[in-house]
């Protein structure tokens, strides 16, 4: 009995040792990683030299849109390599959570897929004191329409056809409307399975805005974060939709371009009514964002995208995500870091990072205003 008890004690001790050992090891592991990252960043980016760390100090917490996660990861890595002792922590949860956190004053800035709503601006005044929350367009990107159809690699669709497909009015791939846009393609007599996002999403809202603007006769729904149409199937997250499209023959869905690239999914070229159908690429998306007008007043730079643009090579189905900050009345302890970090992200070097990550840079005309506003933050 005694022996047994002793053994049990020993086993417990061993277990405790193993657990604490594992903790120590993981702790070491993460330390090593960040060290390696910093080193790597230092080596690879000469850009780091253009990052001005003036006034930046301590830790900056930010939260929001997962659509800009990959861009943020790169920016934060480069920035932290250049400014030692400064920590930027972007928690890519969702636009909604980011704005809630911003309006509770727990983050320095928030990332959001859509501009602040009037009531959110009103709420932000409590946090910003003298000022209010404003939107700074920082990351652009094409929303790709991915499809999976055995035997068909290239597909051209226009806005009305897309609207009818996602509204399950067009049910077969060999529908005359699709055939008319794709002469010579061998379209099978197969059911179309449209996929959409199961949770509320800025990507859904952007697709809705595009369809409502470019095909008002065929898309009667309001552009909301929630999927409005009754038919179709749903999957969670852009990655979920992409993997369903990848797996299911006859499917079509929408997600950020990087998902199409990483999973090797064919994307639809959009017939805008311009000279030729436009492919979903970063460059083509930037051309469409260039057609946008600034609808925000004062320092707010919320954009009004022109979804009906027919400019040559402009891919109209684009997403612009914002950073939300206070124009004045930012908290003193994070203001310096916010300014310094956003100055970098809106700089030429910062925007250059976007193309490599499957995003689209904000066109220079708009970006110049963003820089001006960032410089005036207080």
């Amino acid at each position: 009995m005694k022996l047994q008890r002793k053994n049990r004690l020993r086993a417990t001790a061993l277990g405790a040792l193993a657990v604490s050992g594992a903790l120590v090891l993981t702790a070491c592991g993460s330390d090593d990683n960040s060290g390696a990252d910093a080193d790597g960043g230092g080596k690879t980016t000469a850009a780091a030299s253009t990052i001005a760390c003036d006034g930046a100090k301590g830790q900056l917490r930010a939260s929001g849109s997962s659509a800009q996660k990959n861009a943020m990861d790169l920016w934060v890595k480069n920035y932290m390599a250049a400014c030692s002792g400064v920590q930027v922590n972007y928690n890519s949860s969702s636009s909604g959570e980011g704005i809630v956190a911003f309006n509770q004053g727990t983050v320095g800035f928030a990332g959001s897929d859509s501009a602040l709503k009037p009531e959110e601006v009103a709420e932000s005044k409590k946090i910003c004191g003298t000022g209010q929350g404003i939107n700074l367009p920082m990351v652009g990107g094409p929303v790709a329409i991915g499809f999976h159809l055995e035997g068909v690699d290239d597909l051209v669709l226009d806005a009305p056809t897309l609207a009818k497909i996602f509204d399950t009015k067009i049910k077969k791939w060999n529908d005359p409307a699709i055939a008319a846009l794709n002469e010579g393609a061998k379209l099978p007599d197969k059911a179309i399975q449209p996929f959409h996002r199961s949770e509320d999403s800025g990507t859904t809202q952007n697709l809705g805005k595009y369809l409502a603007a470019a095909a008002p006769a065929d898309w009667k729904y309001e552009a909301e974060k929630k999927w409005p149409a009754p038919g179709g199937q749903a999957a969670s997250g852009s990655s979920g939709v992409a993997s369903q499209v990848k797996a299911v023959d006859g499917s079509i869905g929408y997600f950020e371009l990087s998902y199409a690239a990483s999973q090797d999914i064919s994307t639809v070229d959009i017939d805008t009514g311009g000279a030729a159908p436009v492919e979903a690429t970063s460059e083509n998306a930037s051309k469409a964002i260039a057609a946008a007008k600034i609808k925000g007043t004062g320092k707010d730079l919320a954009l009004d995208l022109d979804y009906t643009t027919k400019a040559e090579g402009a891919y109209p189905l684009v997403l612009v995500t914002y950073e939300v900050v206070c124009d004045t009345g930012n908290k003193a302890d994070t203001l310096g870091t916010v300014k310094s970090f956003l100055t970098y992200t809106s700089s030429e070097d910062g925007q250059k990072v976007l193309t490599d990550a499957g995003y689209a840079p904000i066109p220079e005309a708009i970006n110049a205003k963003v820089r001006e506003t960032v410089a005036a933050l207080s």
Binding site: I99, S198, D200, K226, G231, G232
Partner: protein, 331 residues
Amino acid sequence: MASTTSPLDSPPAPPAPPGRPRSTGRVGDKIFIGLSRGSGILLLVIMASIAVFLSYRAVLAISKDEGNFLTTLDWNPAGDPPVFGIAVLLFGTVVSSVIAMVIAVPVAVGIALFISHYAPRKLAAPLGYVIDLLAAVPSIVYGIWGALVLVPYLEGLNLWLDQFFGWTYVFEKTEVGIARSLFTVGILLAIMILPIVTSVSREVFLQVPKTNEEAALALGATRWEVVRLSVLPFGRSGIISASMLGLGRALGETMAVATVLSPSFLISLHVLNPGGGTFAQNIAAKFGEADEFGRDALIASGLVLFVLTLLVNGAARLIIARRKEYSGATA
């Protein structure tokens, strides 16, 4: 959900015997009484404050709901006007759980009987262990397995059901789409609740008094008749409470459902069509992007699930209480 169902398997403490020993007045006794009474009270206070918090937030949401909270077939608290209703969620939760129970309970009782009365002892122990192990798999793993393996494999079964049992209406598949349906969710839930139903039933069957079984044998009963005459009647309330434990898990299952189901806000009795939703799945899917009011609305739906689970548990307790004198058992 486990916390709301767990009281089922342990009967309420028997009333204190008259003239229970008074405290000897020692310090240790007093401290212990204080501690145990304190924890009891603390638990009640926590439960009450959770209930108050949930109800408060739920009332906030429901009072601003422009649709009917019980009948609206939509969930759009962020809309203008905000409209949301639980009809689809209630329907989906109940239907998927019922499918799970119909599949799981007979199988689980069969396994439990096999382990307790048929299997050779060498086989019974490892088998029981393996069944218990099923309960240790995290639900997200079930979800991923369901989405990647079960869904593609069920397509054949769906076609077959549609072809031969389409006339039942329930098994008619009217929409295209892969098998991300309430039926698939029901099958997945059945697998997930199998271990708990099995292990509780097994324990009950093992408690059948040997004298009962021997009496049946002495009357010339075959092994099946022994099971039918002595084991099943004795274990009936145990099977019911085991099933209710499983039902509790099925009602509240979140990640597995959210991974497998293709949610939509339509009510359809065609269980093979993709679509539908459950309370927990809807909360998991919508919570991330919900604003303050949206979260209140989700909390309101959570409250309905809470009440539903409470009702199910209450019904189970009633059934067990009524059967008690017959079986002579408190499972």
